[in-house]
Amino acid sequence: LFFHHRSRCCAPPRAAPAMNCRAEVLEVSVEGRQVEEAMLAVLHTILLHRSTGKFHYKKEGTYSIGTVGTQDVDCDFIDFTYVRVSSEELDRALRKAVGEFKDALRSSGSDGMGQISLEFYQKKKSRWPFSDECILWELWTIKVKVVNLVSEQERQICREKVGEKLCEKIINIVEVMNRHEYLPKMPTQSEVDNVFDTSLKDVQPYLYKISYQITDSLSTSVTTTMCRLIKDTLAL
């Protein structure tokens, strides 16, 4: 539980989890060059399920929904293809976040462990002087371990293995999505920005935030030792 925090947020303040917040954890072990594609595959699959078409509100509180297109993406370093929504803006946003994560992993040290979090939240307007609350309703954590391979043969096997692993992850994600558990209520026009990200022009994902942490194994061992020492001292 002791991490050397170097977390970066790509969006507004940390959301507090709601009572019924779903939390899912996925773990993958990949080669350095596979990190980006693996992360994109998982994040896009989640967002495919958590995006709708653009809402168009009409009179009397009715609204219609735009159309979401999808497209297949082949991975270059993994024997794997994933489906994402056809939205360049969304793809760019995810690639940016994943790129930062990958760079941070690379520069962190030889162990290469970290995690990316995808949080879905709702905004709850509060009266003055309280600021708006962000209520987390679903949290996905993807733990990544980077492995270093030497031989070409190992790399080839890794391509296939990671591909198979990702297939499992997609099945896991779909399983969670199928539970039909809590989803924010469909908002009125005035509330739509508290539930959805309406800034994209072709799709409308639920409000989300991506952040990441790099696990620095060195400091983990130091902190663990220190904590143990202190605990032992206090135990008397």
Binding site: H49, T62, G66, T67, D72, V83, C167, N178, D202
Partner: protein, 550 residues
Amino acid sequence: AMDTDLSSQDRKDLDKFIKFFALKTVQVIVQARLGEKICTRSSSSPTGSDWFNLAIKDIPEVTHEAKKALAGQLPAVGRSMCVEISLKTSEGDSMELEIWCLEMNEKCDKEIKVSYTVYNRLSLLLKSLLAITRVTPAYRLSRKQGHEYVMLYRIYFGEVQLSGLGEGFQTVRVGTVGTPVGTITLSCAYRINLAFMSTRQFERTPPIMGIIIDHFVDRPYPSSSPMHPCNYRAGEDNGAVYPSVEDSQEVCTTSFSTSPPSQCVFTVTKAHFQTPPPVVTDTLKVPMMGLAFSHQLSSSRLSCQPAALGVGSADMGYPILFAGGLNAAHPHQLIGPGREGGVPLIPSQPAHGTQADQERMCTPLDGGHYSAATPSSSEDTETVSNSSEGKCGSPHDLLETIFIRKVGAFVNKPINQVTMANLDIPFAMFAPKNVELEDNDPMVNPPDSPETESPLQGSLHSEGSSGSSTGNTHDDFVMIDFKPAFSKDDILPMDLGTFYREFQNPPQLSSLSIDIGAQSMAEDLDSLPEKLAVHEKNVKEFDAFVETLQ
């Protein structure tokens, strides 16, 4: 009690939802086994033609087969709709790979809102289906079909038959949706003894067919419906025109209300079906009737297909490969290979109904630099090296493709001859002018090099030009974005392309310039006697040195 029973309107809606859900399910499954990457476009303004708010194309033949199998019925308890995917080798052996089952069980959810919750959950289920169809083992097999095997589909209605899948088949559940009349479940049972073989191994060793040889002999159930290839040659199928069946024209515009009771408004609009004459290319796969897919090239020859005219509503896009296009990063540059031969150039048009920002740049269909068949080129989001990720253009925008003779670098041709207007592309006048950027491009106006009239200078800069002055040589450069093969933008701060460009016009070597050369020669001649004298003095040392070498 009667209150909790479904209202007749709700019942009608529910039946309609289930019917179209079944049809869309079949489309997603079959399209996922075509062997192609699927791409459809998002549209922010609903036209009312996209069921479940998803852009899923309808291949007419597939819809026809599905309706034939359903024969007016809907999935119910004991009556499941099944899509069977099998593989057939060039030798005629076939093997069942997957059975996708859309079933209904008795568990009812009376409380659920039909026109709202059920509809949205069905939409979610279709998304899950899109994702799951890419992760079962048959997907990777289907992507490699064409040479030694093809994928076939068969739709049947009734009892699920899983015996053809061999022992130990596995099941994956795609999802369930509860409705007031029962719970819809969607799952896939797939053969696994093929999964242990890598697809490469499968292609290399035909004897593997031994596993399935006995398959066809004792078929437990008579084939109630014929197999169909997921991907077939359009030419051979002789004009079986599938009528735009009445229901296909029915569209669903569902309005949702945030205040109960939710309203459901259905409008019927006409869908325009138009099947273009199929175009057979010299690549492996050929377009499905009704759709045009541009294909990867494995040869360096170029082929270009005219885009098919619209199937269905205007905002249904499909995977079209743009041969050339405007670079998203540098909108003034035309992307083109430095090769001889014509290159079809289709600038990416603003998407139908969306803003005209350059979302994607597309690569030319050239087997050389850009090798669209290999996805291993640049990952840069702004450059699409993998052709299938090309922008999905509206069908109506792609009616013309033109071939131009690409002007290569170093060609002695004044740049003002190559203007956008001359290229005669559609909407040329809307394309940004590339003139101003030339001034800033070092290729066109390089940093000052010494003003000398060396005969070598001409050959360094342009082929075939006869020692023109420095000012003009660089006008010969045509504005292209030079992308050397195998270069990636993110490996080094300076990539290969930048390196090329920077060092393409090196300044003259001083020793090559005549003046300086002439000067030093005179000096050399003068100092010659002195040098000879020194050498003569040291002749013994030189001789000793030479001895050591022998």
